[in-house]
């Protein structure tokens, strides 16, 4: 990160995320830690569940939000039914615009399944496709109401 920092400085801007990394290098763990949330520098995520309660959890950079929900045993009914394989929309999460911008690109595959989620918004993502980075520290993710995938035919008369 220091080399990249100098590079950014040389080119007329200061990359503050890199500055932070240089000033606060992550501790080198003495042993490989088994528990995922204790590997490296944990990232804090605040979930807001369907009852409006805030639940805070920590995950490792690289973990998906679904991984975090599973590892920390968060009790969201029916969350992640297909186990992160882009075959359902039950890990649907809603973010603020500011956080949404930082989440990275959405593939067509994810969009196809997201399109079926109940209560879809412009700042919705599937939790199994969003991976934690340190830039997301302290982010909030809302678990929306989970009525159907819209793959139900609204069959008018036979």
């Amino acid at each position: 990160p220091c080399v990249k920092l100098l590079y950014s400085w040389k080119h007329g801007y200061l990359n503050t995320a890199l500055l932070w990394d240089c000033l606060h290098p992550p501790p080198q763990p003495a042993f490989a830690e088994q528990h995922p949330s204790r590997r490296g520098n944990p990232v804090t995520v605040h979930f807001v569940n369907r009852d409006g309660e805030k639940i805070t959890a920590k995950g490792s950079p690289g973990d998906s939000l679904l991984d975090l929900v599973i590892n920390e045993d968060l009790d969201f009914d029916g969350f992640g039914a297909c186990e992160g394989t882009l075959a359902c929309s039950t890990c649907h999460l809603v973010f603020s615009e500011e956080v949404y911008e930082k989440l990275g690109p959405v593939t067509d595959e994810e969009m196809d399944m997201l399109d079926l989620a109940y209560g879809l918004t412009d700042t919705s993502r599937l939790g199994c496709q969003v991976c934690l980075t340190r830039a997301l520290e302290g982010m909030e993710a809302r678990v929306p109401e989970s009525v159907a995938d819209i793959r139900q035919t609204q069959d008018s008369s036979s």
Partner: protein
């Protein structure tokens, strides 16, 4: 959980007889598919749950409906397996509720009974020629390639060039994809060997998927449509004029419908890029969507017994969007084909005269899962709402029913304080009638055997097709 039950009881002002009365409440679920398992999962937080399933093997449409090339959708099986392993859960396979034991007998033995047995029947077209050879309900065709024992002998004729599928939902798209997929792709899946062999000999090269309304009303979804567009060695065969006016409509519709329509337009109307043009030219198979057509009659060939074509009414749309209705124009059209698959909906059937049933909607009449005029009787899944929606829909619907059951058990509107025998009451009845239930660990032996046979062929499993064989396997 005994302490939890006591605290909960006190909080709700219900005087519980003893600290462990919650654990003594017994509920039975009829049907071991997703509805049954999700209902059980929720109920297990509070009560003992017994799941009765007609077949020896569990999981219903997750095993027999989901396409073989969609294995990720079947990941829910691990959740169901966890549920079955719960200390308060018992699975009884090979028990046919309605014939081996009645719903009345279950209601006497349990504090509550939840009917989750789904939709085993088909909606029929109701047109002449529907019974000709070569006409199959999609449910049976899907059951055939997915190893449902009762569809084992379907032997669909695949020696014709063109197949017509009526209906444009995801089941129709699944059938089209299985009919046209390269065999090399299918042989790595859990499709049955028998159907794989038949498909390897298939002469079907062209599949038309026909709907009575227009492109904006198609019930299938984008993932499945994209799979058709990207299917190797196939090209789309659409009628561009059927998509006139779509570009305008795109501007005002919500994103999901918009993306789906854009994909259809791109496939049907836009000139392909060079690479795609070459790919289409080299393709040996084709598929297409056809709109505004309703079946009038299935036509026989010269032998009078086998399908050779289908006569269709040409429709126009009245109204717009999801609510629009197909109205015949009077014009008629004929399509030549040697295989007709009707994918116009599944249908629930009544299994016991003691259970209220609405024959028009083909569901058990209920409110929030509580069966009307039948205290202690509930329903979940497709039996409750009709055969629409995916596994996640059923999951939510089942959780809602379970919630109603628990509410009634704790509020006192069901007599939940007197002891009920549960399976100790039903077991002797089944024994007397010569019925041998299959336990979950018995299923696990069957599962192991299927996986062993599959491994020999490079497949995840080779399903047993015969109930007798299933029963023999677990006793070995």
């Amino acid at each position: 959980s005994e302490v939890e039950g006591w605290i909960w009881g006190r909080r709700l002002g219900v005087i519980t007889r003893s600290a462990s009365s919650a654990a003594h409440q017994k509920v039975c679920v009829v049907g071991g598919g997703p509805a049954g398992f999700y209902t059980a999962q929720h109920l297990l937080k509070d009560v003992q749950v017994d799941i009765y399933e007609r077949l020896p093997v569990p999981f219903g449409l997750v095993r027999f409906g989901v396409a073989p090339d969609h294995p990720e959708v079947k990941n829910v099986i691990s959740t169901f397996t966890q549920t079955a392993h719960h200390a308060r859960c018992c699975y009884y396979g090979n028990v046919n509720v309605g014939t081996d034991v009645s719903v009345e007998e279950l209601r006497e033995a349990y504090h509550a009974v939840v009917l989750s047995y789904g939709a085993e029947g088909n909606r029929s077209m109701g047109v002449p020629g529907e019974d000709l050879e070569g006409v199959y309900p999609a449910k049976d065709f899907v059951g055939w390639y997915n190893g449902l024992p009762s569809n084992r002998e379907l032997n669909p004729g695949l020696d014709c060039e063109t197949a017509v599928i009526l209906g444009q939902g995801n089941v129709a798209l699944d059938v089209a994809r299985i009919l046209l997929s390269p065999i090399d792709e299918l042989k790595k899946t859990d499709i049955t060997q028998r159907s794989l062999d038949a498909l390897a000999q298939s002469q079907v090269r062209r599949v038309l998927i026909v709907g009575r309304r227009g492109p904006l009303q198609i019930a299938g979804t984008i993932k499945e449509l994209r799979e058709m567009v990207n299917l190797p060695d196939t090209k789309p065969e659409m009628v561009a004029s059927e998509f006139e006016g779509m570009a305008e409509a795109l501007k005002v519709i919500p994103r999901p419908r918009k993306r789906l329509t854009e994909l259809m337009l791109k496939t049907a109307v836009d000139p392909p890029a060079e690479k795609e043009r070459q790919r289409r030219q080299a393709a040996s198979r084709s598929w297409g969507l056809r709109f505004l057509r309703s079946p009038l009659e299935v036509l026989a060939g010269p032998d009078g017994a086998r399908v050779a074509g289908i006569r269709l009414a040409v429709n126009r749309l009245e109204g717009t969007g999801d609510g629009s209705v197909a109205v015949p124009t009077g014009e008629v059209e004929t399509m030549d084909c040697g295989l007709v698959i009707t994918s116009i909906g599944y249908k629930s059937l009544p299994i016991d005269p003691a259970v209220p049933f609405d024959p028009r909607k083909a569901i058990v009449p209920n409110s929030l899962g509580r069966v009307q005029q039948a205290a202690g009787l509930y329903c979940s899944g497709w039996l409750k709402t009709g055969p629409v929606g995916v596994i996640a829909t059923t999951m939510n619907n089942s959780f809602d029913t379970a919630h109603s059951v628990v509410e009634d058990l704790t509020s006192g509107c069901l007599d939940a304080t007197s002891a009920k025998p549960g399976s100790t009451g039903i077991g002797p009845l089944l024994d007397k009638r010569g019925v041998k239930p299959v336990s979950f660990s018995d299923w696990e032996k069957i599962n192991q055997e299927e996986r062993r046979r599959g491994a020999a062929q490079g497949k995840p499993r080779e399903k047993l097709l015969d109930v007798e064989e299933m029963l023999k396997t677990w006793t070995v």
